[in-house]
């Protein structure tokens, strides 16, 4: 029963990504990305990574997708489908990505990875992640807070209304 659940989540993820790749309308692409991110959150839940699952929901589905939708609505003529989501090079890129996919899967199947989940299965991960972030990984944690501050300032600086652009 539990393996049927995996195939369902994987199907949602892959179908969403296919929608992003092949939909002609960019708004549909954005909603396909939302389905794909929800599927990835489901995969994290399947691997009992509870904290990551909630982070994925809050940051991706609640934040980044909304940001993408805002950008889509603000830019361009979204009703004109041929203009809003044009593709180029479709002919050669399908064999190209098929080759990439085949190479990755063939290379991975050559390596003998452990195929059973380890025993921390089903135990909550929040405490371990918190201890690791404030212990072993304290330096990257502080650096990434600096990065977030820089991104905050940089986004405001780039997107503000420049005086010479006002027409």
């Amino acid at each position: 029963m539990i393996d049927v659940l995996f195939y369902f989540i994987a199907a949602v993820t892959v179908m969403g990504a296919l929608f992003v790749a092949f939909s002609g309308n960019i708004v549909h692409s954005a909603f396909g990305l939302m389905a794909s991110m929800l599927g990835v959150a489901g995969l994290y839940g399947y691997m009992s990574a509870d904290f990551l699952m909630i982070s994925q929901l809050v940051i991706y589905v609640g934040g980044i997708i909304i940001l993408v939708l805002f950008a889509v609505m603000f830019t361009g003529d979204i009703r004109n489908i041929n203009e809003s989501n044009k593709s180029i090079n479709l002919l050669w890129s399908i064999p190209f990505i098929s080759a990439i996919l085949g190479m990755i899967i063939a290379a991975e199947s050559k390596v003998g990875f452990t195929t059973s989940m380890t025993s921390l299965h089903n135990s909550p991960t929040t405490e371990k992640i918190g201890n690791a972030l404030l212990g072993k990984y304290i330096l990257p944690f502080e650096i990434i807070s600096l990065l977030l501050f820089a991104v905050l300032l940089g986004a405001v600086y780039v997107a503000r209304k420049h005086k010479e652009d006002v027409r």
């Binding site: 989940m117 380890t118 991104v151």
Partner: protein
């Protein structure tokens, strides 16, 4: 059906990665290219968590995935602000026509 092994997760991640590369290499809309980058980063994240879960059982892979999520959020914010600025200046966001550096 049978039991779910690490190869199932790796296959899903590989499909997401290939579709992300496809989106990045074929789309002309800059926002769609950013969506492809998000797909690629999520494929990498699935691999991190799968190796963390099926490997030694340590938490390090999940920490790395958290950092990747934070970087993806930062990249999306900066990318979208650049897209808005491009649209304000050129009135379009077609990547094939943004070639001023080539001239």
């Amino acid at each position: 059906m049978g039991v779910i092994t690490i190869y199932h997760f790796l296959t899903v991640a590989a499909i997401l990665f290939a579709l992300g590369i496809f989106v990045v290499s074929t789309r002309r809309n800059v926002i769609a290219i950013l969506m492809g980058i998000e797909l690629i980063l999520n494929a990498a994240n699935i691999n991190f968590v799968a190796f963390s879960r099926y490997g030694t059982g340590k938490i390090d892979g999940e920490i790395f995935a958290i950092f990747v999520i934070i970087l993806a959020a930062a990249e999306a914010v900066v990318g979208m602000s650049i897209v808005l600025m491009l649209f304000r200046r050129y009135s379009h966001i077609d990547a094939t026509n943004l070639d001023e550096l080539k001239q």
